[in-house]
């Protein structure tokens, strides 16, 4: 075992540092549109240098670098140290671009990838529906060809779209072959959201969070999209949607967020003057055993990725582990905040405008931790995946007839 990155990585680090020191930060008085333009130019220079959009071909605005998880890690660390912006985030880079690179037509790649990379297009995910959660392949939003065969006409409802109010476009799963077996009747469509047939509405969450930054639901009433914006074959959308980004995804810091949250929990115990209580100290250390297991396992996954080795079933466990630790932290936080639990935190949910917040701010985590059991693959589905794909147990009867 050795947690250093090696000489070649350190030489590369010096190179990245030199780049950053000559390109970042912006002048302190830069504001508004000027600052935006500076950041855009910075990203372009960082891409030119080979540090950003490494999996994206040059002709679509990327830097087209060979896979190297160590270099990618060094880049993340140095950009974070310099507080320099990395790639634009969101569904566009995580989902749309990799899907188009693998399954898109040349026209689609030309139309969408560069504009997404440069942050002009923001993508919403149109997967879940009120009647289709874990059983995603049961989607009922309907797509029908126009009389001249040039457009898809879309009717139905999508839900739980992150960044929905900001999204310019959506990638969505639409039922186009109602008579086919359910996985074979779905088509993957791209759609422009700024059109009369699309209505969007933010969802108010249990945390109290509301407003333009929350999840949205979308209503489609004869919305249209060109047939040329269909990705993959008609009826093959389910399989198109399985495309995932694997490129340099392993990151040694993937557990840092959890570690920071745990450190805040220790701070909370100090703030409410319970840190000397042996029961609290024991519970904190108990939780930290899981936090550290998660952290060192992220080292393990990173190390395996760098060496091109399969880490085995443990990679299937990380999401559920993170979720479960979040629940344990929520329960201890609830004990620690005591009567602060009587008051709603300012800017409930955590992203709205907020004033000064006391220990009651943990209500955001206490309630928000529940969202992790649902979003991105519900916990019971994670348990099935660990049991079936990880441990090789026979598939559930309800699902064994399906692919």
């Amino acid at each position: 075992m050795d947690l250093s990155y090696g000489e070649a990585a350190e030489a590369f680090r010096a190179e990245v540092r030199a780049f950053l020191s000559s390109h970042w930060p912006p002048a302190a008085d830069l504001r508004g549109a000027d600052l935006k333009a500076f950041i855009r130019a910075f990203r372009a220079a960082a891409t030119e240098a080979g540090y950003l959009y490494r999996a994206v071909p040059k002709r679509y605005g990327g830097s087209e670098q060979p896979v190297d998880v160590i270099k990618a890690q060094v880049i993340r660390e140095e950009f974070a140290r310099a507080r320099a912006p990395m790639e634009v985030g969101g569904n566009g880079m995580n989902m749309t671009v990799p899907t188009l690179l693998e399954k898109g037509t040349d026209e689609q790649k030309e139309l969408f990838i560069r504009r997404t990379v440069e942050g002009d297009y923001i993508w919403g995910q149109g997967y879940s529906e009120p009647g289709s959660g874990s059983d995603l392949a049961s989607v009922r939003t309907k797509g029908e060809l126009s009389a001249d065969g040039s457009k898809w006409i879309i009717n139905g409802q999508k839900i739980w779209t992150s960044q929905g109010m900001q999204s310019t476009h959506m990638f969505m799963l639409v039922r186009t072959e109602p008579d086919a077996p359910k996985h074979d009747g779905i088509t993957y469509l791209l759609i422009d959201l700024n059109q009369p047939g699309v209505t969007r509405r933010p969802i108010r969450q249990m945390t109290g969070e509301q407003g333009d930054h929350t999840f949205c639901e979308f209503f489609f009433d004869n919305a249209e999209t060109p047939v040329s914006w269909q990705v993959g074959e008609r009826g093959q959308g389910w399989y198109v949607s399985r495309t995932t980004l694997k490129h340099e995804r392993a990151s040694i810091g993937s557990a840092d967020g959890l570690g920071r949250q745990f450190a805040k929990l220790v701070e909370l115990a100090k703030e409410v003057d319970r840190i000397g209580d042996p029961v609290i100290r024991d519970k904190l250390a108990q939780i930290e055993g899981f936090v550290l297991s998660h952290r060192y396992t992220s080292f393990r996954l990173f190390s395996c990725a760098a060496a091109g080795e399969d880490p085995g079933p443990v990679s299937l466990m990380m999401k559920l582990l993170l979720t479960e630790i979040g629940h344990e932290m929520a329960l201890l936080a609830q004990e620690l905040i005591g009567e602060h639990a009587f008051t709603e935190p300012a800017g409930a949910g955590g992203r709205g405008n907020r004033g000064p917040r006391g220990p009651e701010k943990w209500l955001d985590q206490i309630m928000g931790s529940l969202g992790n059991s649902i979003a991105g693959g519900a916990s019971n589905i994670q348990r099935n995946i660990i049991g079936e794909r990880g441990l090789g147990l026979p598939r559930d009867l309800a699902m064994s007839g399906e692919r």
Binding site: V266, I275, R281, A285, G289, R300, N380, G390
Partner: protein
């Protein structure tokens, strides 16, 4: 950056696994568990023939991580014999310059670990040497017979039976004073090796439960198809597999003498011994009736989980230490 096992380390584990499969099958465990001995010469000699005794010799090219990997497999196999004591006695003797580690490294002499302040010592009747590690009183090497009183007890862990042991004042030779940093290092190393034993045992009972769920049929189905059991098994795996890296890190930190090595050892011991208890309890539940029988053998690991948890200080004791070490 390397934070997974090398091919060589996997090969060593396979060698230990194969050796114990041959020399310590379940039939031998059954016979041993019903007998009076606290040591099994044949399986011990087979392990020592692999050279395990010398892992912690300063020139072995190996370290605590490799020792932990061996202890993990011993835990998996429910091996008899004081492997942890043997490994650490070699390290202590070599580091002190006051005792010759050769007979211990070869396995010719058998050493067991005495946790300072505890009267209960595994495999005490077979031991030639007692390695007493006491954070408050230092490290001693005490030869059997020299002021050592041993009283047999009916031990709950049938694979590593304890006896009650008392030492006359000043028995044996003091290798390191309490304040010597080596004393704390040896105590920390013992915690890591105990955590490794727990990891191996917890993985073993998880594997047994999964295998049984694929084979056992009820309602015309393998029971592992039922979601309730599938989810229980998924949780066992979720408890055990990520904890593996905690043991690796604690061993690596000890080998690299990182500042957080003592705390990592405490966290690993506390966490893995809890994991082991949960895993063995869940394993009996997952098996149903067969798991509750003596003949199936799950109880040997269950009993080892009781032992590991109580030995060298309980999880809550080490969590309290970890809290202090973090200056909470």
């Amino acid at each position: 950056m390397h934070f997974h096992l090398t091919e060589e380390q996997k090969a060593i584990q396979e060698a230990v696994r194969g050796t114990l499969a041959d020399s310590w099958p379940i039939e031998r465990i059954h016979a041993f568990a019903d007998g009076d001995a606290d040591f099994d010469r044949a399986s011990w000699d087979a392990l020592m023939a692999l050279g395990l005794g010398g892992i912690l010799l300063p020139d072995s090219g190996m370290g605590l991580l490799d020792a932990a990997l061996a202890c993990e497999v011993a835990g998996e196999a429910a091996a008899a014999g004081p492997l942890i004591g043997q490994l650490l006695a070699v390290a202590a003797a070599a580091a002190s310059g006051k005792a010759n580690p050769d007979a211990l490294a070869s396995g010719e002499a058998v050493a067991t670990l005495v946790h300072g302040g505890s009267a209960f010592v595994p495999c005490a009747r077979a031991a030639d040497i007692f390695l007493v590690v006491d954070r408050a009183a230092g490290v001693r090497l005490v030869p059997a017979g020299d002021g050592v009183t041993i009283e047999a007890v009916r031990a709950s862990d049938r694979t590593r039976p304890v006896s009650k042991v008392a030492f006359a004042d000043g028995a044996g030779e003091m290798l390191f004073a309490a304040a010597d940093p080596v004393t704390a290092r040896l105590a920390d190393a013992a915690l890591v090796l105990c955590a490794a034993d727990a990891l191996g045992g917890a993985q073993k009972v998880t594997d047994m439960s999964v295998a049984y769920a694929k084979e056992r049929e009820q309602f015309g189905q393998p029971v592992g198809r039922f979601q309730a059991l599938k989810h229980q098994l998924a949780h066992m795996a979720l408890d055990v597999e990520p904890a593996r890296a905690l043991v690796w890190y604690a061993a690596y930190a000890w080998d690299a003498e990182l500042p957080d090595a003592p705390r990592a050892a405490a966290m690993a011991k506390a966490h893995l011994c809890d994991v082991y208890v949960r895993a063995t309890r869940a394993a009996v539940a997952a098996h149903g009736g067969i798991g509750y029988t003596w003949e199936y053998g799950l109880n040997y690991w269950f009993r080892r989980a009781l032992f590991d948890r109580a030995w060298l200080g309980s999880p809550s004791e080490h969590r309290a230490r970890a809290a202090d070490l973090a200056s909470w």
